[in-house]
Symmetry: none
Subunit: 213 residues, 2 copies
Amino acid sequence: MTNTMNHQKIDHDHMVLISQLYPGVYTPMIPQQGEPKPKRRRKKNKGGENGSGVAKKRKLSAEQADLLEQNFGNEHKLESERKDKLALDLGLEPRQVAVWFQNRRARWKNKKLEEEYSKLKSSHEGDMVEKCRLESEVLKLKEQLSEAKKEIQRLSERAEGVSSSHSPSSSLTMEAMDPPFLGEFGVVETYDDVFFVPESNYGPGTEWMNLFM
Amino acid sequence: MTNTMNHQKIDHDHMVLISQLYPGVYTPMIPQQGEPKPKRRRKKNKGGENGSGVAKKRKLSAEQADLLEQNFGNEHKLESERKDKLALDLGLEPRQVAVWFQNRRARWKNKKLEEEYSKLKSSHEGDMVEKCRLESEVLKLKEQLSEAKKEIQRLSERAEGVSSSHSPSSSLTMEAMDPPFLGEFGVVETYDDVFFVPESNYGPGTEWMNLFM
DNA sequence: AGGAGCGCTGTAATTACATGA
DNA sequence: ATCATGTAATTACAGCGCTCC
């Protein structure tokens, strides 16, 4: 029951009509040789089914669009007074004005989102650079600290025979630090290899495109 | 002048035109109704020009939408074969199928954008925390280094009478550091990597936070 | 040399639902 | 609690750019 086709009964007449309108939709199958990558098949069909070439024009005129745009710039919301006034000024139905504003708001939202996205993205890239800078600074400091401790060690040993000094302050004299990498890998020096930045600079605006393919 | 005042009543004209062009194409009246959803009334027909009960077209049935959706999941692009087959299966014009796919792609793009946006945003927040951590670590290390140098200073003074050893390597023995806070650590020496190892080494290293928070 | 086909963007209009007065 | 408005999602069309015959 509730058969899957009770409300979608597209009148069958209309199917007939369509099949009339599109007589030879299927072209004779051009035998293709290989089809590992069928490319894009092109086909020729449909003669002018649309006999009545009546233009259904939508699209508001430039003046209308301008005025609406201007009004939108002032305030995205639309009170009915403004709506009616605009409708009158533009020679449109109030309904159309309302619709225009609704759609405009939606568009604006999307545009805003895109903006925010690219702003955030460049900010993110900046953060990456900075993080790297900080990380290398940390490494550098650790190395220096390690050297300093070695130095302290040496000096302490040398002075041990003499008046046994104690470290009066600071909590850093010993431990508290793990040796930086330099002990393990031998070399740390300048590990400033090269690598092109993956995608740091595309023009602002369309860089997310590569997400969609 | 050609088009400044012709859009007032396109609702009506447009409808008529459409119904002329596509005699029964649009699902008439949304017959899909079994549920007692009295809904709210449409609205009062203020503009009297909509006198004729022209069908309000549109809205695909759930099955149609499902099949389309399913097909879209497989592949966002639509080759004409698929288009025609779908159109046949669904009882729609190929044109409608194409339009549906187009709109669906646009929608998908927006959704993707939103997704990417929020991902990026949370990533950004994470970066902020991490940057903070790194900064505090830098501060701490600088302080420790400062302490170490003081210590070295003391030990050196004490051992001045003896053979003045030299520091074998490194570049840290003297200056090169100012009191904590310096900010620009002199050399740039290569922009360190920009590749960003999402989270390679700082897993359990968040104990710095509670030192400064 | 040119048009058929398709994808994309922008725009208009409609549907369905939520909400405030 | 009816009615105008808001949002979100849908359906549709135009116009451009591209590619492939």
